[in-house]
Symmetry: D2
């Protein structure tokens, strides 16, 4: 998965499978979520131990294209990339592949909105998030201010 | 939810909630899936006892827009509508509402591909499916042959 | 299920099934949990909208005996009974049956510990819990003080 | 976890957490199941790609003792040990620990019954299972024939 700056493995669990013997479609969102959180932890923006008290990220929209069934025993890897930094929202894209065979399993994207749970309102993306993501992804300024 | 010909209740489980105290985003696909299956059972196209041996439905694409957090205690209802019948695929749309308040919780759609697991290939939508869905939804012929 | 004072239906979801075509064993705990919460709501001890901020119930121990596979389409009903009220813990027993056939699906029990999250310590069962549960179950005083 | 001959890591997923911010109690069975399957794969008794067509293992009974809440970011490791090989059933015990701190998180056991899905009846544990497990665990003959 050379185009992504970040990717992480996800272990397929027997409990993720449905009667068709494949990973159930809903679990793809679980895999994307886990990879997305690992991405933010990797960038130093989230701390696993306490992040979810203050994190203020709301998933507003999700799109998934299923490219191949995901079987038990697959070495799944999910690539994560922030492709848009707006004012109060960002877009994250995902690619799921089987590491051994290189088969593309799924592609997806989600729109996340930054939210202050204390004020109960949307807020601009914090500057530190903007800076670290921009540095990591090499987003150009025109793109990130869209 | 007057525009949908079919809708069904989904009980929010405590086990569906995540640390934010809301139904986790991945569970929306579980709710949609359950409502979609109930729709096909309602139309007499699936038998719950044995349907998933032969069903031959593959989820190819899913889109979800999250409109409001779903809380424990909500009376959730999911409306299902088939909005497109292609040759080897169909589009299903979903609306999730809170029944008491009428709040819109989510909207979504999925593209399903009809698949023969014995032949291991995509197949045309069976005629009986086409007829029953067409009759139920009142899809016009131009639309359903797209 | 005549011996239980309280029981509630649980809808089997397609997403609860595993490749054997049965409800996965882990989901039995989800079903028990949902029925247990519905029991406490029924007794007026929990409010679904806000209960899980203060609830202070910790699951300390669980035992499940699986009596029959649970299939899609089953009308599942879970009976809940508090069978012991100790000082800082209580025992809840469960019976899962298929309503149409009357087949016993599972039996189980869990030990719950009452916990104060503000003080971060176990606390005695609140008097109002003790009174309402005792009244509902008709537990005798010898039994409930064990 | 020095006493177990086999243990494996389980990544805690955000999707495993419930509103208390801990791994939900039902997920402990998912973790045990995953570790148990990895154990059988490790011993060469299961093939991840096709095992669950023929596997013929039924979970008959489960017991879990919850020792500490499992938090996001924990390095969870589950130890698995077969402690009894009967005629048509075996007992598997589990220990879940946090690898960094060494904190005990949970202990459990399950009784598994060997089942032939073609004949639809319980069957004796296959000799190859008995031999490999016995060799791996060093169970003595008196014990394994109980």
């Amino acid at each position: 998965m050379p185009k992504d700056h970040f990717s992480c493995p996800i272990e397929v669990r027997y409990g993720d499978l449905d009667p068709q013997g494949h990973v159930n479609n809903a679990k793809f969102l679980t895999y994307f979520e886990q990879a997305r959180i690992n991405y933010f932890v990797h960038l130093g923006l989230l701390n696993k131990a306490q992040a979810f008290i203050d994190v203020g990220i709301i998933v507003a929209d999700i799109h998934v294209t299923f490219l191949a069934p995901v079987l038990f025993g697959y070495e799944v890897r999910v690539g994560v990339q922030v492709t848009r930094l707006g004012n109060k929202s960002l877009t994250v894209t995902y690619r799921m592949v089987e590491s051994v065979s290189g088969i593309d399993l799924a592609a997806g994207s989600s729109v996340l909105v930054t939210f202050d749970y204390h004020k109960n309102e949307t807020v601009p993306i914090p500057d530190v998030w903007r800076e670290k993501i921009n540095a990591f992804e090499g987003l150009d300024q025109n793109k990130i201010n869209t």
